[in-house]
Symmetry: C2
Subunit: 405 residues, 2 copies
């Protein structure tokens, strides 16, 4: 298939009409300089919004408030803070998340319900809300038409690099852009972290159509990454579409809709891959590709079991092509399996043939696992279902980073 | 309830009529001295046998062979090797496991089917079967009436201490003994390890009654421990009962049967705890006690999610009383949960009250987590179901030990 979009610079401020900015508040003690609040805003018109939130039953207050605000037909801004997750904070947490939306609304001349709220950082700590309200007042002045990188930096916690991507495509002879920023699953800071992702587009698209497209994109990207298997209380992906590109509104099942979907998939997958690559203490980026599974669900369970196995991940860290641990994980993940049918490949080199050691020299497998990126392909030979998970090794550095303050 | 049994010395050779011994074979390259084969034998009479095997679908050859041999009404010996798991070895693996039983039978004058076979060590490597057959011929001469510790040592892989326990109880005025040895879930050696446990008793008990009692004991002990969440291809628990104590055969629902069950539970729980304490790189032994859950299944899922969370375990290693990670794990484990009802205690000290930080000073919680053993109690306040899991921290040393050869 020909590529129908091109990657461009500019992140979330590349689509028409979106501005972003950041400011220093000092939410987390000891944070002397780093900007820790960000604002994303559609300056000219309101937007339709789509979102996916954590399925964790312990949901942070901003998640609960944003879920409510998503009922609004058109929103216009997202306010975000790092340094405090506002999770396990009870009724006062809900009040503080609302006050963030109220303060942002006042600063921009919007209703509270037109503002979505996100937080990332410590769990179980009360927000310094008054200080934050003062910072929010200053945020509109910080908004810039090239402010994407500043917002991407302000939402970072233990991330080591800012995560931005943008693409351009043509729909109805109109230039349409999609931009995104994200922060990763770093959890050292110090209680819990969060995957946050904000996507903007100037495409004209209905709320339902945007939600449908976002759900597909998230399923194929953020839902397929794992660093340590712990799901956060705050995970949020929000997409805003303001329609300024001037295309005819996208409808499902049109060719244009497929082009938009592909471009959106690319944006989310790139950001998801960056999150994995920037995982704490990560030294390897590994694609686990299961094929030939009896069912889609079996393919998913098998790929996730291998990608999350502590022992498999430790072996990768040690550059050890330890396929016995992969066979073991396949055996305990409750899927249809015939041991004597399983083949396993390391970057295409066969390691396991019919469930037993292949004749490939051990050193050849070691060469693959010594690389920073490689793919493990597992063929179950039981059907035609497949699934991919993007994962990492488990390093001593990961443990050190997660030992606490 | 009064204690109706007493702990004694002697392990698996303390019950009447059982002997054990070990020998050096050199199954694993580089192993110059350590005994790596063991034999357990009921010298005077045959025994009924009960067993539980790994539920991993990738089953080692000795597991498949022992499952078959368990159909025999009465068996008499267990032959075990360390250094090679005989897993993922195809048809020749099955043949080799059978040859171990045949050779043992010939050496002791038994039928092949009266011998159970166990292996632990590397996955995917062919057994040096001829060398092993030669060693098996010598094993009967090594049998001793106090050979339990030798057998316990011969089955060790990365274990740092031998695991033995025995108890004595009185049934029908007869002295009944139960002894056990086990090896732990060390997985560095180098592909995969195994939990193996062998229990002997001179109690008179039927095969079905012994299986029933063993299943209950395993469910409350070995099924409740976790070091890294990876289930092995070789896990095996076998109990042999030869009836030499002379009690009337135990029947279910008799008082004597309960006394025997309690003693057996104690033996398996002690061995299970030793396995956890000897887990690779372990610095903490943690009991996770969930109570007040809506259902038994919810209590189990909650306890297992907390006990297996990479982030929770890293925090314990760092002596960080990070209850946010526990709340997070409770949130993602698919149980009935009301965040605002959850209380969490560290050795009885309240850390979380109604889903939020308690007023307990942080330093007091730090004092608990600094200990080598502590208990996390989680009260869901939704019902009356409870569950306990015995687990460990996750240390940098664990990762180092599991990086490969």
């Amino acid at each position: 298939m020909s590529v129908l979009f091109a990657e461009i610079c500019g992140g979330i401020t590349s689509p028409k009409g979106f501005v972003a900015g950041s400011a220093f508040c000092g939410i987390k003690k000891g944070n002397k300089k780093k900007h820790d609040m960000a604002l994303i805003y559609s300056r000219e018109v309101s937007t339709v919004a789509a979102a996916t939130f954590t399925t964790n039953k312990v949901k942070a207050a901003p998640v609960r408030v944003s879920v409510e605000h998503m009922r609004t037909p058109r929103v216009r801004a997202i306010v975000v803070n790092s340094g405090n997750a506002n999770a396990c904070t009870g009724l006062s947490g809900i009040e503080h998340a609302k006050r963030m939306a109220v303060a942002t609304g006042e600063a921009l001349g919007l209703k509270e319900r037109q503002v979505l709220v996100c937080s990332t950082g410590r769990i179980g700590v009360e927000m310094p809300i008054k200080k934050m309200e003062r910072t929010i007042k200053k945020l509109p002045k910080a908004l810039q038409s090239d402010g994407s990188l500043k917002a991407a930096k302000a939402i970072m916690t233990s991330d080591t690099f800012a995560k931005e991507v943008a693409v351009e495509l043509v729909i109805d002879d109109k230039t349409v852009r999609i931009g995104g920023i994200a922060k990763g699953a770093g959890m050292i800071d110090p209680n819990m972290a969060t995957m946050l992702c904000f996507i903007t587009t100037d495409a004209a698209i209905g709320k339902k159509e945007l939600q449908h497209a976002l759900s597909i994109a998230v399923e194929q990207s953020f839902n397929r990454i794992t660093v340590d298997g712990d799901m956060s209380t705050n995970d949020t992906v929000i997409a805003l579409a303001n329609g300024l590109a001037g295309n005819k509104p996208l409808k499902a099942s049109q060719a244009n809709s497929h082009i938009f979907q592909n471009a959106l998939n690319y944006v989310t997958l790139q950001l998801a891959r960056m999150i994995v690559e920037d995982g704490e203490g990560v030294t390897k980026f590994v694609e686990v590709h299961v094929q030939g599974a009896a069912t889609y669900n079996d393919a998913r369970k098998a790929a996730e079991a291998v990608a999350k196995s502590t022992l498999v991940k430790c072996a990768w860290f040690g550059c050890d092509p330890n396929w016995g641990r992969i066979m073991d994980a396949l055996g305990y993940c409750s899927i249809k399996l015939r041991e004597e049918m399983v083949d396993i490949f390391y970057d295409g080199v066969i390691a396991v043939k019919n469930g037993m050691a292949s004749k490939t020299p051990f050193s050849k497998l070691q060469d693959v696992v010594a690389k920073e990126k490689f793919t493990i392909t597992i063929d179950m030979h039981l059907g035609s279902s497949e699934y991919i998970v993007y994962t990492t090794d488990l390093s001593t550095r990961y443990v050190e980073l997660n030992m606490g303050e």
